[in-house]
């Protein structure tokens, strides 16, 4: 900002010395980007393409993959676990989004205030972030053990209990992170907006809905994309807490893929599930980005 101001006040004579000052500035050759692009292509893009290829083969990990056409995809579409898993993934994503967004948005906006007590509580709220998702899943695996005694019932033994446990554990772990994002976002909202609103007589709730929420639009999009893509892939939590159970009631797509690939060594079928997961995740992210106008990177400060 200040630099652009500086530019407009440049002395006239220097401008006449060089009409196009940008022209002489050396720019890095595009080749500099190559190592990173190659590395990422090799370990992410190529495997993704390979997954699509393997989804048309039968392969047990030994020998060579045999092309079998659409057999794995046919099997996937006929698999009752797929419908169940899709439905599960959708409900898990929606439930996680509602839980995490509501709590994190409110806590984040609250924590953005300058008060001392809020800073102290924010430090406590940070605690779950000290633990890895594996550690968090283990913690709740132990705490939810009916023999241990916080909850005497066998929570993970019932299908709704297991579902709620996964939503709760995911929220417990990730809400601190999203709270930080919202806290950062809320602190960048210009104070003048609130001052103007206060002069116009807007109350606290009116200010929240008319200023805070619209100004946090980009933050909400970022956080939503992270939550949605994240909850497609709650792998550790499911593996440690429920092993997909009871029955297959919490077997999300990545878990089905893990079982097909690394328990029954049906890598072709596992790749079909994996490809389906890529399509779902990409489609969802594109949809979210399109819906929110994030791709155009419109600034929330427009018109100011």
């Amino acid at each position: 900002m200040s630099a652009t101001l500086g530019k407009s006040t440049t002395l006239d004579e220097s401008a006449s010395l060089d009409k196009r000052p940008g022209a002489r500035v050396g720019r890095p050759h595009a080749v500099w980007a190559l190592p990173g692009v190659l590395f990422f292509t090799f370990f992410a893009i190529v495997p993704m393409a390979l997954a699509f290829y393997l989804s048309f083969t039968r392969w047990d990990g030994l020998g060579d993959p045999q092309l079998v056409g659409l057999a794995n995809w046919q099997k996937l579409l006929d698999d009752p676990r797929l419908t169940q898993s899709l439905w599960l993934t959708v409900s898990l994503t929606v439930a996680s989004w509602v839980f995490q967004t509501v709590v994190a948005l409110l806590l984040g906006v609250w924590a953005a205030g300058p008060q001392r007590n809020r800073a102290v509580l924010s430090a406590v709220f940070f605690v779950p972030l000290l633990l890895s998702s594996t550690a968090v899943a283990l913690l709740f695996y132990a705490l939810l053990d009916p023999n241990f005694g916080i909850i005497q019932k066998d929570t993970l033994g019932s299908s709704s209990g297991a579902f709620l446990a996964i939503v709760f554990v995911g929220g417990w772990q990730f809400i601190p992170f999203h709270t930080l994002i919202y806290q950062g976002g809320a602190r960048q909202i210009p104070q003048v907006l609130y001052q103007a609103a206060a002069i116009d007589g807007a109350g606290r709730y009116r200010q929240f809905f008319s200023i805070t929420l619209p100004q946090l639009r980009n933050t909400i999009t970022t956080s939503t994309v992270l939550i949605v893509v994240g909850s497609l892939t709650y792998f550790e939590t499911v593996l440690i807490l429920t092993k997909g159970g009871p029955g297959t009631d919490t077997a999300i797509l990545p878990y089905l893929m893990y079982e097909a690939g690394f328990k029954t060594y049906d890598f072709g079928y596992a790749s079909a599930i994996a490809s389906f997961l890529v399509l779902a995740a990409t489609g969802l992210s594109l949809l979210l980005v399109r819906l929110s106008g994030f791709g155009t990177m419109r600034s929330t400060r427009e018109g100011m």
Partner: protein, 291 residues
């Protein structure tokens, strides 16, 4: 940093200003108190159970403080090779951060400074990459890792973890580097600086915020990584902390206090980082969400 709280602006202005920002908000206060309980109770139960003898753990009320605290559980965990797990994880984290920085910084620099179709295509590749779940590629990666003869080594964990940390890192860096003004580059060009010198003397120093975000993000990806170690390693040698914790479930079985002690121990390194560099850690995490 732009995200500094507004307390500085606030110390000076009028009473009315103070009035509306400092007004107590009982509803929000109550809500945050509830969340505090949700955060504290499991943490407290974990600490208290980890200090309880195994024989007493299943009899008493888990929310009561332990009557005769003991460090036995911690000893059990530490004697079962915890240090080895920790050093493996540290090696993975350092290597991942190093690879991500060395590859992403030039990439972001080109994407911001050299706007041609090549650099745009590269940037679009990484935008797309954000949506690729690591789960989706483990099967083919397993094949690739086996072909490269890397199965059951730390490199098998490091390389894919670094690759999957790149998309977000590149996007964060591009966002930061865009803020370095053209005038500064012009000023350096007048001194005859090459693009390489500009990168080291101008861009990197001015992009410290974004770079520290990337360091924290990449280190946490390595620290949290579970799937890659689970699939690409099997022996004790290259076992990392998350996988070690997972194996404790079968190793300790019903010894819940020991299991919880291992969870506590696994959190200590980040806790130390948090104590030493709270501002960088919190700011870095905020940065992952965009500026």
């Amino acid at each position: 940093m732009k995200t500094r709280p507004s307390d500085r602006e606030e110390s000076a202005p009028s009473r009315r200003h103070r009035h509306w920002t400092r007004r107590a908000n009982p509803v929000a206060g109550l809500g945050s108190f509830l969340w505090l309980v949700v955060v504290i109770v499991p943490v407290y139960a974990m600490l208290s159970a980890s200090l309880t003898g195994q024989d007493k753990a299943l009899t008493g009320n888990p929310l009561k403080p332990p009557t005769s605290p003991t460090l036995d559980n911690y000893n059990t965990v530490l004697r079962s090779g915890f240090g080895h797990l920790l050093s493996n994880t540290a090696i993975v984290a350092v290597a991942v951060v190093g690879i991500v920085l060395v590859l992403s910084i030039p990439l972001a620099y080109v994407a911001v400074r050299t706007r041609n179709s090549w650099s745009n295509a590269a940037l679009r590749l990484f935008l797309l990459g954000v949506a690729i779940p690591a789960q989706a590629v483990v099967v083919p990666l397993y094949l690739l890792i086996a072909k490269l003869d890397l199965y059951d080594t730390l490199l098998a964990v490091v390389l894919p973890t670094a690759a999957f940390a790149m998309p977000v890192s590149v996007l964060v860096l591009v966002g930061t580097l865009r803020d370095v003004s053209e005038d500064l580059y012009e000023a350096m060009a007048l001194d005859g600086a090459s693009p390489l010198r500009m990168l080291f003397q101008l861009t990197i120093p001015l992009a410290k915020g974004g770079i520290s975000t990337v360091v924290i993000y990449a280190a946490l990806q390595a620290w949290n990584g579970f799937l890659f170690p689970l699939i690409f390693t099997q022996s004790d040698g290259p076992r990392v902390l998350t996988l070690g914790l997972f194996n404790y479930v079968s190793q300790f079985g019903v010894n819940i206090p020991a299991l919880l002690a291992s969870v506590v121990l696994s959190g200590i390194p980040i806790f130390v980082v948090y104590l030493v560099a709270r501002r960088a850690l919190v700011g870095g995490l905020m940065g992952v969400g965009g500026k």
